[in-house]
């Protein structure tokens, strides 16, 4: 008994308790809903069986039905484009800004803080603002493009199937850019200055220093940021609701918006769950990348 107690206060038992607590929390708050969602994707669910767990098992029927729908593949494709373009845009612009502010001109840290405003704003507000900016007839973006002579006629960002997805991507890049910038700034400031001094003495030019010092030193930060970006992008729902509602004709629909539409607009909870399961696979992949890229930090 005494050994058991002492092991809890100091020893293996303590370690186990430390691990068990967060694990238990995760299982309760994330694991169970996740499992429930997976189970639901194999069941026949309607509003009246919502409250019970034992619903008719239908095997892979939901998955088969889902992939038989003509809009499924285009929506998956849209999701891929949305994720890739959003992350690329957020990361490149965010990295550019981080490097820009890294030069530490007067007021740089102030301005950097101000950039965070976009990240602090709720998605629905951002969506409403971009809704106006991207409006076809009276939007500011069209006005700017027209006045600078880039376009002749108005582009209907939200309503032209060729642009609607990009309208949301533009808004999402703006929204996530500042977050990328801040994290990358942190990564940049963690690189020891003497590395650069030594490289400079050895005659390395700015590009070489960036390529051989900055990028390799930032590897774990970049990995983390890209996987976080993937998660945030796959979560992005508000912008779709505010700007295009997934239209026209699903040309800007993505899985996360579609899952909501199926579950809470069409009350097809099983299909909504099925799409969520497909998304979970992607997010799992991102999580693995995230964990692997941050493992370095924790040990170091």
């Amino acid at each position: 008994m005494k050994r058991l107690l002492s092991s809890i206060t100091d020893g293996k038992g303590f370690d186990i308790a430390l691990v068990a607590f967060p694990l238990g929390y995760l299982f309760l708050m994330s694991g169970l809903p996740l499992l429930y969602n997976v189970v639901m994707s194999f069941q026949e669910v309607d509003m009246f069986s919502l409250g019970s767990f034992w619903r008719p098992f239908v095997g892979l029927k939901n998955y088969r039905d889902l992939f038989a729908q003509p809009e499924t593949l285009p929506i998956l494709y849209n999701t891929g484009i949305f994720v890739a373009a959003s992350i690329a845009g957020q990361f490149l612009l965010g990295f550019g800004l981080a490097l820009f502010f890294w030069t530490n001109f007067p007021g740089a840290s102030w301005l950097r803080g101000l950039f965070l405003v976009s990240w602090v704003m709720p998605g629905l507000v951002v969506g409403a603002i971009w809704n106006w900016i991207l409006s076809g007839d009276f939007g500011v973006l069209n006005f700017l493009l027209r006045e600078t002579g880039i376009i002749d006629g108005n582009i209907f960002w939200r309503s032209d199937p060729n642009f609607s997805l990009w309208a949301v991507i533009i808004a999402n890049i703006w929204l996530g850019m500042a977050f990328n910038m801040i994290l990358l700034s942190v990564g940049l400031s963690a690189i020891p200055k003497d590395l650069y001094e030594a490289a400079e003495l050895d005659g390395a030019n700015a590009f070489q220093r960036f390529w051989t010092i900055t990028l390799p030193m930032m590897r774990s930060t970049i990995g983390a940021i890209i996987s976080l970006g993937l998660i945030f992008t796959l979560q992005q729902f508000d912008l779709f609701a505010a700007i295009t509602s997934g239209g026209p004709n699903n040309s800007s629909n993505v899985t996360q918006y579609w899952a909501w539409d199926l579950s809470f607009r069409q009350y097809d909870f099983a299909k909504g769950a099925t799409i969520s399961v497909i998304m979970i696979v992607f997010v799992m992949f991102a999580s693995v990348v995230y964990v692997r890229s941050t493992r370095h930090e924790v040990r170091g």
Partner: protein
């Protein structure tokens, strides 16, 4: 008289005795009411007034958000915690009544001296009916009609007292009124990928003799072709595809659209914002003399089947109904009743408009009723958008929708 009848009568007697016993213990009966009405809207005020009467029934009110009504109600019902009374959006009524989640009120209404089905407009009433039985009472109603800018009509040489009557005239007038140089579109409406798109399009199909069950009928294809003409010739903003009715009509108010299709909920804003003379006309029909139709919106009252106090809940509904004549004067909503005259507001533009809307309401048809309405609606929205963006012809798009709807109807 068979044994069964005796049993039924006995049960009825027992029920009425227990109902009496319950109402004798006045403060014991609590009826819960859920609706989306805010403090300036009918439900909470009617509840407060009802409670003041001390009838031995105490009503508890809970406000729910528009987006949560159905999911909240489903969750509550499936876990046995449903309220006694709920206000439900009319296309979703059948979802509950078809599965027996709502109480069949047919007999109670037949005996009621307050609620009479004959007093209602046919459209709103039909939305509460499933399988020939009454599962609710319309709470309020609305419909859509054509707003038009009389000043612009004059400026373009059109008769401001002759709004378009037919689809051809509508397109013709829209052509004349469209003025890209002045940033004016001929028409504003909504073809959004949401229930709003269906709400606006279905009346056109119905006027042409179609319906959601035969969405690819010849008339429906013609209706979509007219919409396509309007979009292709830029007689309406391309953003019609992603803009709701409220925002679309906003462009009418600011003078950027000469006509707009929307409902009476626009009236107050239009009175303050529109700096021009305007009027309202019935929705144009396919050709002169064709059947009229329009959309029908707003909520219905219903009693959940698992209520402990059906008789008391019905009394509360009777009270709500008895106050329908205050619906417009106090809360600005249109009662779904054809026997209640809408009092004059003293604002001539509004009074004229309301007359048209009341006339239009006679032709309003419910969406469905069908328990899987949202899926039917989604098929229609996708078809509208596929055709209007030029990805499919009207016929192809509606054929596809018809196939999807057929799968839903089974």
């Amino acid at each position: 008289m068979g044994i069964r009848n005796l049993v039924v009568m006995g049960a009825f007697a027992l029920a009425s005795v227990s109902a009496f016993a319950v109402s004798a213990k006045a403060e014991d009966v609590t009826i819960s009411v859920w609706s989306l009405d805010r403090d300036i809207q009918p439900a909470p005020n009617l509840v407060a007034d009802f409670n003041k009467q001390n009838t031995g029934i105490k009503v508890e009110y809970r406000q729910i958000q528009f987006d949560d009504v159905v999911s909240e109600a489903m969750r509550a019902y499936s876990t046995g915690q449903a309220p006694d009374i709920i206000a439900i959006d009319n296309p979703e009524h059948a979802l509950f009544s078809s599965r027996g989640a709502f109480l069949d009120l047919t007999d109670m209404i037949a005996k009621s001296t307050v609620i009479k089905t004959a007093n209602y407009f046919p459209g709103p009433l039909a939305s509460t009916v499933w399988d020939g039985k009454n599962y609710g009472v319309p709470k309020a109603t609305n419909t859509i009609a054509l707003y038009y800018n009389k000043d612009m009509f004059k400026a373009k040489g059109l008769d401001p007292n002759k709004p378009p009557q037919t689809w051809a005239e509508l397109v013709e007038d829209a052509r004349k009124l469209t003025d890209p140089a002045a940033n004016v579109y001929g028409l504003a409406f909504s073809a959004k990928a949401s229930e709003e798109g269906t709400f606006q399009f279905l009346p056109w199909v119905q006027m042409a003799g179609g319906g959601y069950e035969n969405i690819n009928s010849e008339g429906a294809v013609k209706a979509l072709d007219v919409w396509k003409t309007i979009m292709d010739e830029k007689l309406a903003s391309p953003d019609t595809l992603t803009r709701g009715q409220w925002d679309s009509t906003g462009t009418f108010n600011s003078g950027n659209a000469a006509m707009a299709i929307s409902g009476p909920w626009e009236l107050d804003r239009m009175l303050t914002e529109a700096k021009f003379d305007w009027g309202v006309a019935l929705l144009p029909v396919p050709e002169a003399g064709a059947e009229r139709s329009s959309a029908m919106g707003d909520f219905n009252w219903a009693i959940f089947a698992n209520t402990q106090h059906p008789a008391e809940a019905f009394k509360v509904l009777e009270y709500f109904t008895s106050q329908d004549n205050r619906m417009f004067s106090d809360f600005g909503q249109l009662p779904a009743r054809s026997d209640i005259a809408i009092p004059a507001t003293g604002k001539p533009l509004k009074d004229e408009a309301l007359k048209v809307f009341i006339e239009q309401l006679k032709f309003a048809k419910p969406r469905g009723p069908h328990p899987e309405w949202p899926k039917i609606s989604k098929a229609i929205q996708d078809a509208i958008q596929a055709a209007l963006t030029g990805q499919m012809s009207s016929k192809e798009a509606l054929d596809q929708a018809a196939e999807k709807i057929k799968a839903v109807l089974g």
